[in-house]
Structure formats: structure tokens, C-alpha cells
Amino acid sequence: MSIRALNIHKTFGNYKALDDVSLEVPEGRLVSLLGPSGSGKTTVLRILAGLEFPDPKTGATIEFHGEDVTNLSAGKRGVGFVFQHYALFKHMTIERNIGFGLRAKPRRERPGDEAIAARVKELLELVQLDGLGKRYPSELSGGQRQRIALARALASQPKVLLLDEPFGALDAKVRKDLRRWLRLFQEEIKITTVFVTHDQEEALELADEVVVMNNARIAQVGAPQDVYDNPVSPFVIEFLGNVNRFTAGVSKPSKSQATEGKSVLYVRPHDVDIRLTDENPHDYAIRSKIQHIFSAGNYARISLDRIGYNEPFEAEISREKLRQLDLKVGMIVSVVFRHIRVFAKGQFKESNVREDGQLVEVAG
């Protein structure tokens, strides 16, 4: 079932939580709402679920598969909602928890006890927790509880699955496992899914499409790779992935833009190339001092400081290169930014620095 939300405004008292947000989710896709806390992403999700309603008289409409559900209450929308803190019913067994939605149906639609038991068993198998049906939520780990919450949300076969920071309360290891599991799971049952997160890694890894939110508005929508590679605003580039930020006029490569007034220069750490000082010097090389080296896995993260400017920045190079160059803390090296984005006058301009020291503008 596709989702379409148009012109959503929402205010809480004097606080504007959503300012004209429109969103479309094609059928069967996994879409992530990504943004810092307070950006309005959870409010969007709660409005889609019917737990919150858009401000009246602002022309907001919410459609599920072309059907207007704007004024339908949560229980009638047929969505499965998963809460950050699981929100399981503590005094009920896992079975009763999962079967709750089925038992709550009006008498005519309610399946019989055996049918409910069978469905519960099926769901427990689906979330790979068979055999735990007789336990209480407090006897389960956080990851298990969240899977039970998911099973409960899916019991009545909703057409839409909404997850509010589903892994936010879990530790890093469980988070990663569950994330992968959810991805496979969603591909298998092909349910239209929207999930909220403030973790960019989670959003980029999991989603078919990312909706980046900031300050009650949508900042950018697109495939994860696309949003990462072609950010439309300083907010997006700074929020997605690590990036070094320099204000214009200070850094050498941005000298050409110095006349354009205020501009900011961005370089991703993996676009920072480190060379020994005597090696092939050119115009765009910056002398910097190594402050700190940390290597884990295949990559080494190096903190540098531009000599004479007190501008700290980060580089990411392969471990092999680290060994080759034999870098040590305190060494003075020559740094070249291979790929530069300059944001000025409301748009980005991209440039590459070639091996021979030529600056080449990348066509937008």
C-alpha cells in the first residue's frame, strides 16, 4: 500500500513541529525518516499512524493507496506501529501480547481461539522466537522484546509498518544484528515500511529511500547513495557522514571563490590525501601536523592540524597506506583534498584536484 501525505502542518502550543511537509512512499518500499532530535520526524510518523492529527484547516491530506485516511483513528488505519521502548503489555504473556490486535477485533471479524493461536505461533516463528510464547515481556532481552513488538504490530496483517526509532534503546551489537534482520525481513514480506532514526548509518544502510528532515521541514529526499553523494544543503552534508568544514578564504583551494563572499568548503575525510612533504609538491598541497592516529579495520583515521591556522580536520586512509608512509604522531605532512565541495550562494560547486595539481570543476 502506498502512502501519500500532503501539506502536513503541526503545532504543539507555540512550537511548530511540522511546517508544510509532504511525503510519498511507494508500495513495498522501506523509507527512512532521518534527522536530529526535534526535527519533526517522529511527528510525521505519528501522524501517519493516526496517533496525532495534522492541524485543522491547513488542507492536510493523508492517503493510503489513494484512500483518504486523514480523519481515521489509529485503530482503523490498519497500520502496525512499533515504539522505541517496545510498549509491550507487561501483565500479559508474549502470546497474549501478539494476539491482542486479533482479540480486539469486532466480533464479526474476530478469528476463533485456534486461529489466533495458530497466527501467534506463525508470527513467533517469523521473528525467530518460537517457544517464548508463555513468558512475560520482562523475561526477555531488549532485542527480543522489540521483535515481539514487531510481531504484535504485524498480527492483523497491516498494510503499512511504521517504526519509531526501533533500535534506539538497544546496544550497538544487537542494533546491527536487528537492522540486518529487519532488512531481510522487509524484503521477504514486502510491506510498505517507514522508520524513524537519528542514526545516519542506520538510515543509509537500511532504507531504499531516505527523507532527511531538519527544523520541521524536509531537507532532502532520495536514495541513500544519492543523498550522500549529492547533498543539497550544508545541513545535509554535515548530518550525513563525517565531513571536514572550512570557512572560505582560509583554505587555499577556495581562494578562487573568495570574491563570492560567504562560502563554506567541505571535504569528506576519505577525500583527504596524505603525502610526505618532499613528494611532488603543488599549489593545492597544505602543510599539516599529525595530531592523532587511530586505526581499526581496514581504515586509519588521522586527526590533522593545518600549520599556522589552527584548523583541525580528519583524514581517512587505508591501513596499508599508513604503513607505507610510516606516519607518526607529530609528523609534518603535505595534504591534498582530492574532492572539494564549496557551498556558496545557496548551491554547491564541486571540484576535483588532479594528480598534476590542476583544479577541475565537476559539472553539476
Binding site: 489509529a74 491482542f100 515481556p137 513488538a149
Partner: protein, 301 residues
Amino acid sequence: MISNTSREDTGDRPIPPTSVPKRRRERINRRVIPGFGLTMGFTLTYLTLLVLIPLSAVFIRTSGMGWDDFWKAISSPQVVSAYKVTFGVSFYAALTNAFFGFIVAWVLTRYQFPGRKLVDALVDLPFALPTAVAGIALTALYAPNGWLGQFLYPLGLETAYSTTGIFIALTFIGLPFVVRTLQPVIEVFDREVEEAGASLGASRLRVFFTIIVPALIPAMLTGFALAFARAIGEYGSVIFISGNQPMKTEIVPLVIVKFLENYNYPQATAVACVMLIASFVLLLIVNILQRWTESIGQARS
């Protein structure tokens, strides 16, 4: 081979190879919160002086009687009828409070309305009001010629000078116990759990009865127990409104006072003994019940 501790002790000075790290003299206190011995001792002394000694005096005085005398003292028809009145009416009053107190607590925590703070303060009034004042006020209201009584009596509702009157007084004094026990629990009740119920398609009523009420039952039982205990011991307000007819509207505390007034100390203490044991057992049962309901869903994590 110099250990870290010895280096700290001697600073940067070179350490002779034979030096042994200085042994720490003070005993290490492994408790995070200090003062267990002191506070525990205080607690025991305090409870002994205030509760245990006075209560044991009741038993000691009673133990002077033989079993036959004791049995006779506690089973005279007048006393038995008083037990029935006290425990019976207290039970119904506490039950009524558990129900209506819940509604009051719910309204006070869940809704914002003008005058909420005032109503909230009003709930505590039965705590502070001298019970005799409450008794007199209620009697004035419910007496046959009182404000409310004049309408109720023609309808056949004998409010004052009957068990109904006792019931009214005991409900009045028990209300804040239920409200104050439930309020904090309702306040911290997770809204997400309710929302989960709603998004799963449950009606408001179903969410209320299958999700909210079960979660509040332990607190409700506590409130009930407190109101019940308070009602059993209530004296001041009841004696004004009950009419104190022997065998009909006499409560146990009043019976005890009557015995005392006649210098019949043995019978007074014997009945007091029964009250003590009965109250204790009842409270214990409610406590166990409460534990049990609480343990559901919160066992072993």
C-alpha cells in the same frame, strides 16, 4: 618490580628495592550507602518504643485472663455485632473508595481543567480535618432534618443513625488514601502502551480495561488496604453519625471505650487484642495479594 601503589606513595623519589608498599590501615567500607548500623539501630529502637511496646502491653494485660474469660469477653453478643459492623462497613467503604477514588485520581492526573489544583488540595482535607468535625458536619447534613437528610428520609433512605451513616463517614475519611496512592502510578503510566493498544485496533474501553486497569491493580489494592485499615480504626466521625445503638450501629472502637468507661479493662484489652490480630491478618493478606499482582509480568528479568 615496583608496584603502582608504592610509586604513588613516594612520589618521584627513587625507591629502595627492599621497600614494601605501605599497608593501608583503615578498614575498607564496602557499602555504597554508609551508616547501615546506625540507622538500623535507630529504626528498631524507634519502632519498639512507639509501636511494639504499646501493642505488647495490650497482649500482656490480656494474658492475665484465663482462656474462658477471654473467650467470654470477646464473644459477647454486643461485641460480635460490633465486629460485624466495623469490618463489614469498613470493607464496603474501602471498596467504594477504591472505585470512586480511582475516578478522582484519574481525573486529577489525566485532565487539565480550571481549579484542578484546588480540587487536588480538597482531596487531602479528610486527612487534616479533626474527625469529630467531619462527624458533626456529616450528621448535620444527613440527619432527618438536615440539608440532605430531609430529602432522603422521605425516600426511605435512613442516612444518619444507621449503618448507612457509618458507611458515609468511613468513605469520607478513606478517600484520600486511595487517591494519593493511585495518582503517582497513573502519572507514570506509559502513554505509549495505551497508544500501542489503540493502534492495534482496540476501543477506548478495551484499552482501559485490558491494559490500564490491570497495570493499576497493585496500587488500587494498596489504596484499598490503607482506606480499610483507616476505617477499622476510625472513631471520631462515626460516633456522631451512627447513633451508637447497641447491637445495631455500634462500632468496635466505641465498644472498647465503653468498657474502659466502666473500668472493665480486661474486656477492653481482650477486644483490642482481637482487633489487632484481625487487622494485622487482613492487612497481611492484602499485602500478599498486592505483591502477587505486582509480580505478574515483573518477575525475574
